[in-house]
């Protein structure tokens, strides 16, 4: 079972809240939901925002495609935005009070879209009013539920004894969500649960909204389907990617997060901050006697400071991470090179967004792979690792925290806007298969001058100020084993090689299944190669595309040359990426010498959808070598 939906309306005016109500409501009926939010890079001011997703009785729920079966719209603007996003046989819910509006009625609609709509209407021979577009949809096989929202809400208000316009305006979310619930055959109880989640647990608020929902549901004469409340039998969680990341940090032992706010990374840090102090588990050894333990969340003055504070935290002995996006990551270049030189392990969670420069701050891309691999002047070891879905975001946060400590290198954890704004009701992941691995510090019985960089050890001993009883010097300059500046060519060579040997160590220790995963038939002649958040869309498409393999690369640096070669040997490979250059394809050529058969890219700031994957694959099958994807949902 799979129902795709979208909820659209004016940004910053409740449409996000309505989405939470809807998703949580459906979730509370026992279903899984996988949804994603799209919004403009300003706070309010009238832009259009929406959530698109899928409801399913299994997990992973399928990833959405380029059109949906159910569209809940708040205003005429939303109808116009989504004219081309509805399936034949799908349902549109809209406000007939906006019928006479045209693209020009919405000054905040993107001008190019307005032009396209007007041009389309002209081509079809109708005036570009909301009514006419709805009529066009109806003729294209879309079921329409058109209601005068405000009129009904006032009436409902009268029934339940609410008259103030401010109060009534607050009911719009519930009203629209209830219309959706009606079409799905869900009763007001589930809407009320959604309200409870989105607006807080106040009983009177919930009760009132429940009444609104009950009335609204009565207004809908049709039904798409009837989804029966069910019990999925597993613990489930409702979260988004930023939250999954923050939880992963807490569980993975990160105790210092320094950051400078930036979309779409901020919430990773702010959720971490909100969770302080954390609840202690029963098996927490010596900590078990405490109920809660603390951590440091620190808003720095800029990203230069954020990454330095993070590095300082790691020097002192705390697992430390910073979270950022492209512009902030650029500012961390110098400090990453230093972490490599000084041999300090830190985690940078990089929430990629559409660049270059400020670009589209709230839009999707995978443009920062090249840069992550080669960031910072000079040559030094590092790890670059990518997550592809919310479970991975959570678990990989534990992995990267382990690695930063184990190898004492900067670890760049690649996630993206798509993941950050993916909202899912999904099974609670189980971190217990993954160990939190730490290294005990060296502690000398007596104060002692210690070598911070002994030549014989690929990874230096864990010396901590105030803990190890050691006196040692750390240095950003090339140094001798004592950490003091050294330019002797023989020592310099040894020290350089010693640092670089970490790359070999990393390659040999991290197990293959954490580096690449292969899905689909073992003997597939054709393989799609991808990384990061395109994973759910590709996996969903694989259900349709028979006989195709999917090589999913998580470890980007040091690049798993042998594994990738082995999987791609003798097969045709389509690389599929959310960037312009096809960066994974290029680095695969560089590191593994494997030549991609075809490359499909999408760089319009929107994620790759399931339909995009199918389209790309069809073109690839037909022999096309470079494929540009342009869908816009």
């Amino acid at each position: 079972m799979r129902i795709s939906f979208l909820i659209g309306g004016p940004q910053g005016r409740g449409v996000e809240t309505a989405s939470f109500m809807f998703i949580y409501g459906v979730g509370s009926a026992g279903y899984y939901v996988y949804a994603r939010r799209e919004f403009w890079s300003n706070i309010a001011g009238g832009r259009h925002s929406y959530v698109v997703g899928t409801i399913s009785d299994r997990w992973p729920a399928p990833a959405p495609g380029n059109s949906v079966e159910l569209a809940l719209t708040f205003d005429g603007h939303a109808v116009l935005e989504h004219v081309f996003h509805l399936m034949r046989g799908g349902y549109l819910v809209y406000n007939t009070e906006e019928d006479s509006k045209t693209p020009d009625s919405y000054p905040m609609m993107a001008k190019p879209l307005a032009e396209r709509l007007k041009h389309f209407a002209k081509g079809q021979g109708f005036e570009p009013t909301v009514r006419n577009f709805v009529e066009y949809l109806r003729q294209s096989g879309v079921e329409v539920v058109g209601l005068p929202y405000n009129k009904h809400i006032s009436e409902i208000g009268r029934k339940i004894g609410v008259a103030s316009p401010v109060m009534l305006a607050r009911f719009v979310n519930t009203f629209v969500v209830a219309l959706g619930a009606a079409l799905l055959g869900l009763d007001e109880e589930y809407v009320a649960r959604g309200v409870g989640f989105a607006l807080g647990k106040k009983a009177d608020v919930i009760e009132q909204n429940k009444k609104v929902a009950a009335e609204a549901i009565k207004l809908v004469g049709k039904k798409m389907t009837t989804i029966q409340p069910r019990s999925p039998g597993v613990k489930r969680i409702f979260w988004n990617g930023n939250e999954a990341s923050a939880y992963g940090k807490v569980v993975g032992g990160v105790r210092l997060v320094a950051y400078y706010p930036i979309t779409p990374a901020t919430d990773d840090a702010m959720v971490f901050e909100r969770l302080i102090p954390f609840p202690v588990g029963k098996d927490a050894g010596e900590l078990a006697k405490l109920e809660r333990i603390g951590a440091m969340a620190f808003q720095a003055e800029d990203e230069l400071a954020a990454v330095a504070i993070t590095t300082g935290g790691a020097i002192a002995g705390a697992r430390s991470a910073t979270v950022t996006s492209g512009p902030g990551f650029s500012l961390m270049s110098e400090a990453l090179s230093m972490a490599g030189m000084m041999e300090v392990g830190i985690v940078v969670t990089l929430w990629m967004r559409a660049g270059p420069s400020t670009g589209q701050a709230t839009r999707q891309s995978q443009q920062d792979l090249f840069f992550s691999l080669f960031i910072g002047h000079g040559e030094y070891p590092k790890i670059v690792y990518a997550s592809g879905d919310l479970e991975e975001v959570f678990l990989d946060n534990i992995r990267v925290a382990n690695w930063a400590e184990r190898y004492r290198v900067p670890v760049i954890h690649l996630v993206d806007k798509n993941l950050s704004n993916t909202f899912a009701v999904m099974p609670l992941p189980d971190p217990s298969n993954l160990k939190v691995q730490t290294t005990p510090p060296v502690v000398y019985p007596q104060t002692k001058e210690a070598e911070a960089y002994p030549l014989e050890e690929v990874v230096p001993p864990k010396l901590l100020p105030g803990v190890s009883n050691a006196i040692f010097h750390l240095n950003s300059l090339e140094h001798d084993p004592e950490g003091d500046p050294e330019e002797d060519p023989v020592v310099v060579t040894k020290m350089f090689e010693k640092r670089m040997q970490k790359l070999k160590l990393i390659e040999s220790e991290i197990p293959p299944e954490e580096k690449v995963l292969y899905f689909g038939p073992a003997d597939a002649r054709r393989v799609i190669v991808g990384w990061g958040s395109t994973k759910p869309a590709i996996l969903t498409a694989l259900e349709e595309l028979k006989d195709v393999g999917f090589l999913y690369v998580k470890m980007l640096y040091p690049y798993p040359v042998d594994l990738v070669r082995r999987y791609l040997e003798g097969r045709e490979a389509l690389f599929l990426e959310n960037n312009y250059f096809g960066q994974l394809a290029m680095i695969t050529r560089m590191f593994a010498g494997v030549v991609p058969t075809a490359v499909a890219v999408k760089f319009n700031g929107r994620p790759i959808t399931t339909d995009d994957v199918v389209e790309a694959y069809r073109k690839f099958e037909a022999g096309q070598k470079t494929i540009k994807l342009e869908s816009d949902l």
Partner: protein
């Protein structure tokens, strides 16, 4: 545990300093040895942090734990160390270029946090290590030895900046006056809160204007000029007055006062604020000293952590 009494020489590292003979930085190094000895600091519990510059090499000449970081970022590196383990004694040293040009923003933002650490500005008004360009404390119109033209940019007053930033201890010393500088550094370290000490430290190789002679004509000591001088805020109500008094001395330009300009231990330190707002156990069990796993299992209870998100 046995109490050790350490001497200045106990803080001397095996390698000798590599500064030009006569460089002002030697005086600061000696003063630091002295102050550490006076306070009998455990060298394995002190972290000296610096950026890049002649001055920033200082930690390599000291027998304590140290971090020689990148240019301009000593403060946030030090801050990270201190936040993760507030029981460490963290001291930052650096030049006017390092701490006030490229690093100016971090100085500006440290003070307002009142983290309990000390910043020592080794001020020679030039960039020594890159061979003599103008530093941000070099007055406009002065042409120093190695640059082709006179300085078209004005100077910044480090103490005014420290006050703006919110430092709660503000002092100025002179590197060739080792006894006095020792005293100021020791006071700064013992101060509860963010402490800032500017030390005039002539660059004998590149600053041929602001020389020993130049300084010695201008400097005087606050408490000598005015025996009633009391920079300490003893009571909340005195804050505005003491700030105004400090400002009055800080903006002095023809003569250059040395001494403590301002000291206020009534402002809560960052630790204190953090404990009251975030984590009551912060100082007892800071980030660096927490075990995060027991037998490979996370110490945090994941299900409790996400309780409000479970369906």
């Amino acid at each position: 545990m046995q109490v050790v009494k350490r001497a200045a020489a106990d803080y001397r590292w095996v390698r000798p300093p590599e500064w030009c003979p006569g460089c002002g930085h030697f005086g600061i190094l000696q003063s630091l040895y002295n102050a550490f000895a006076e306070l009998n600091l455990d060298p394995a519990n002190v972290v000296l942090v610096s950026g890049i510059g002649c001055s920033s090499r200082l930690p390599h000449y000291v027998r304590t734990t140290s971090v020689h970081a990148i240019h301009g970022r000593a403060i946030p590196y030090a801050l990270g160390i201190k936040l993760a383990n507030p029981s460490l004694e963290v001291v930052v040293v650096g030049g006017d270029g390092d701490l006030m040009a490229i690093g100016g923003n971090h100085l500006l933002h440290l003070g307002r946090r009142n983290v309990d650490m000390t910043i020592i500005l080794m001020d020679n008004s030039v960039y020594g290590l890159t061979r003599g360009q103008a530093g941000p404390t070099l007055p406009a119109g002065i042409k120093v030895k190695a640059v082709p033209k006179a300085n078209p940019q004005g100077e910044i007053n480090p103490l005014l900046l420290a006050l703006t930033a919110g430092f709660t201890f503000i002092a100025r010393g002179y590197s060739y006056d080792i006894k006095y500088t020792t005293k100021l550094i020791a006071e700064a370290i013992t101060h509860k809160g963010s402490a800032f000490v500017q030390i005039y430290s002539p660059c004998v190789t590149y600053n041929n204007v602001m020389t020993r002679e130049w300084y010695e004509k201008k400097i005087y000591k606050l408490e000598e000029a005015d025996p009633a001088w009391d920079p300490v805020v003893h009571d909340e109500k005195e804050v505005d007055l003491k700030i105004r008094k400090a400002l009055d001395k800080i903006v002095e330009r023809d003569r250059l006062p040395l001494g403590v300009f301002y000291k206020n231990e009534l402002v809560p330190t960052f630790d204190e604020r953090y404990e009251s707002l975030y984590d009551p156990n912060y100082r007892k069990l800071p980030p660096a000293l927490q075990p995060v796993e027991a037998d490979g299992k996370p110490v945090v209870d994941f299900e409790k952590l996400v309780a409000d998100r479970l369906l």
